[in-house]
């Protein structure tokens, strides 16, 4: 997994509630057997017009957000389908962190597994970031996982919660499966007891 430590970047705003994973990566692109190749299809129905030309009305197509590595979204971001293709697609689009007031559980887990940091802030903090990102161009924030803060140069200083285990995995870029496999004997003995009972 990619490490996540500290990131300063332009913020791209997507001011919509309940952005579901069907929007993030539509079903016709789920047929690939690789983890890559999804980025160009992210937000497909919103992002492109009928003839495949980028939709000028879709905010993430605007030049001023092109190099953003941080996305700020509405509440319940990533709802719906469990498809991990959604964080894969967002990461290929360039995003490394998403800020919102809430995330759907499975999506949040999937992000954590890939080094895409989901950050939950209060409604007023998200509103502030959204408004500043929408206002001009070049608005940046710094997401710092070590200190669990989001800051900007206009006085924003927000803190967020993160599970200590997940935090460590993200900071170190650790492989979850590897950590669990080191507990092989514990699993063996649990299995022995359980198999005897069932």
């Amino acid at each position: 997994m990619e490490k996540f430590t500290r990131l300063t970047s332009i913020v791209a705003p997507l001011d919509r509630a309940n952005v579901d994973t069907d929007q993030i990566i539509p079903k016709q692109f789920l047929k690939r057997i690789e983890r890559t190749g999804f980025g160009e299809f992210a937000f497909f129905d919103w992002r492109y017009l009928e003839d495949g030309v980028p939709n000028p009305d879709f905010i993430l197509n605007e030049d001023r957000y092109r190099n953003a590595n941080i996305l700020v979204g509405g509440r319940n971001f990533g709802s719906g389908s469990s498809r991990e293709h959604a964080p894969w697609a967002l990461m290929e689009m360039g995003y490394k962190s998403i800020i919102a007031t809430s995330f759907a559980d499975i999506f949040r887990n999937n992000c954590m597994q890939n080094g895409l940091l989901p950050v939950i802030l209060s409604e007023s903090e998200v509103d502030t970031i959204m408004a500043r990102a929408l206002r001009g161009s070049g608005y940046k924030v710094t997401v710092d996982l070590e200190t669990q803060t989001v800051t900007d140069d206009q006085g924003l200083n927000a803190s967020f919660e993160v599970d200590p285990f997940r935090k460590n995995s993200l900071l170190e870029g650790l492989d979850d499966v590897g950590i669990t496999m080191s507990l092989g004997e514990v699993i063996d003995s649990f299995e022995e007891k359980r198999t005897a009972r069932w």
Partner: protein, 469 residues
């Protein structure tokens, strides 16, 4: 100490709970399908890891299959074909059983698990699919996971999970005729919204739940994820055990009796406490129809489509505005005045034999409206065979329905079954997201009876007043 059903199952499955870490819980049953598994198997190969318990893992193909009678031929879409072939190869290499297209046991993964008797009370069940919550209808802790977690379960048969909070959702009173399990869950999600249960495991209780048959309970649990909870459970009882008895992988004879005795112990203790309670009065429920682009945007069939101004929260106003525009609806329109072009009876929510029976009663002796194309995709091949034995296929075909093959089909349109832009569909599935059934397609979520009646009438009708033969 008194415990909830969730706590009992959770505690029985804790393998390790290291200080400061989420618990490592054991997984009893891992369901696999072609869409969310290839990258997980590939990761195992790259790291020289093996599937730890192929005997606790089962797979089927459901998302990509055509339903038009051509599934035994080569799948036309080359990318879909590779995905299905990849699952075949992965199962063969790892020793995981695959219910392929030629098997009677093939079907939507959440239909076949219970149907074959794999799904049992007290189990932990996962699948790379959010509608895994379906299996909670049997009193199992079942939830959807992503592909990295699929890899984790394949390699270790465990999963790292933070302990969720618990909520009791109590359905009081009695359902009126024509009001179904689908309406109960649509009403509940309409009340709490699509994120209302985030972070919780829901246990459904109350008289109306106890009276539901297993298909109805599966419908309720299936859509738990649409309220944001990953898992929803119902205490197993005689209805559960009667339904399970005799199924292929359910214990037989004395072993069954012993299992039932254990399963009865799972129910939440009388004095146990949940973190939250939501009560819903079933006497006042009507058939529901979704009008928007998430499953929380629903209305009673006798109501009108709301206007964006009817909402207070700015996010809700903006959501409603987008939804109405996408759906091509005007606030104030009577739900019954909405004309439809397509009907889809299918999906892991509502394509079981009981659902097909319910729809057939509405359809019997009638004809699909000339403006409507109506299709039925049974939840599994076995369901299809059973329905044909009962003559249900003939009732549907006589009325002008297309009787097709099993698979996820138009619930998400990964196969060729999709809506064209602007088409409006009465659907028994679970999600009305933009583009879910095809780009520009407009989905209205309803029960099988409501979908069947809409097919005949050409628009939504209140199925409570529908006369059946």
């Amino acid at each position: 100490m008194a415990k909830t059903m969730f706590e009992k199952i959770w505690e029985q499955h804790i393998v390790a709970e290291p200080e400061g870490q989420p618990a490592l819980i054991y997984i009893d049953l891992h369901l696999v399908h072609e869409v969310t598994s290839p990258q997980a198997f590939e990761a195992l190969r790259l790291t020289n890891r093996k599937v730890r318990r192929p005997d606790l893992t089962i797979s089927t193909v459901d998302h990509n299959l055509p339903t038009d009678g051509t599934r035994n031929e080569v799948i036309k879409d080359p990318i879909a074909r590779i995905q299905v072939d990849t699952l075949r190869k992965n199962c063969e290499e790892s020793g995981v059983v695959l219910y392929d297209i030629d098997s009677e046991a093939q079907g939507i993964v959440h239909v076949i698990g219970p149907e074959q008797g794999y799904t049992q009370p007290g189990m932990t069940i996962v699948c790379g699919d959010s509608h895994t919550s379906t299996h909670g209808a049997f009193g199992s802790l079942a939830f959807g996971i992503g592909t990295s977690e699929v890899e984790h379960v394949l390699a270790t048969q465990t999963l790292r999970q933070a302990k969720p909070k618990t909520m009791e959702v109590r359905f009081n009173g009695e359902l009126n005729k024509g009001v179904t399990a689908k309406d109960m869950i649509l009403a509940a999600i309409g009340t709490v919204g699509t994120a209302g249960w985030t972070g919780y495991v829901v246990e459904y209780t109350g008289d109306a739940i106890k009276k539901l048959d297993m298909a109805g309970r599966m419908t309720v649990c299936n859509m738990t994820i649409e309220g944001g909870a990953r898992a929803g459970l119902i205490a197993p009882d005689d209805t559960t055990f009667d339904w399970m008895k005799g199924r292929k992988f359910v214990p037989k004879g004395d072993a069954f009796d012993a299992a039932v005795a254990e399963w009865r112990e799972l129910a939440t203790d009388e004095d146990a406490e949940y973190d939250e309670l939501l009560e819903i009065d079933c006497d006042s429920l009507e058939p529901y129809v979704s009008w928007g682009t998430n499953p929380g945007q629903v209305a009673k069939v006798t109501d009108r489509v709301p206007s964006a101004d009817d909402f207070e929260n700015p996010a809700d106003v903006s959501s409603a505005k987008h939804a109405l525009e996408y759906m091509g609806l005007t606030g104030g329109t009577q739900i019954e005045d909405i004309a439809i072009d397509r009907v889809f009876i299918g999906s892991c929510t509502n394509a079981r034999i009981e659902d097909l029976r319910s729809a057939s009663q509405i359809v019997k002796g009638r004809t699909v409206a000339s403006t409507v194309r109506a299709q039925i995709m049974p939840g599994s091949t076995l369901t299809k065979i059973l329905a044909e034995k009962e003559g249900l296929d003939q009732i549907f075909k006589d009325a002008g329905f297309e009787w097709r093959e099993s698979g996820c089909s138009m619930c998400l349109g990964m196969n060729p079954d999709i809506l064209v832009p602007g088409e409006r569909c009465a659907s028994t599935s679970n999600r009305n997201f933009e583009g879910r059934q095809g780009k520009g397609g407009r989905t209205h979520l309803v029960s099988p009876a409501m979908a069947a009646a809409a097919a005949i009438a050409g628009h939504f009708v209140d199925v409570r007043y529908w006369e059946t033969e």
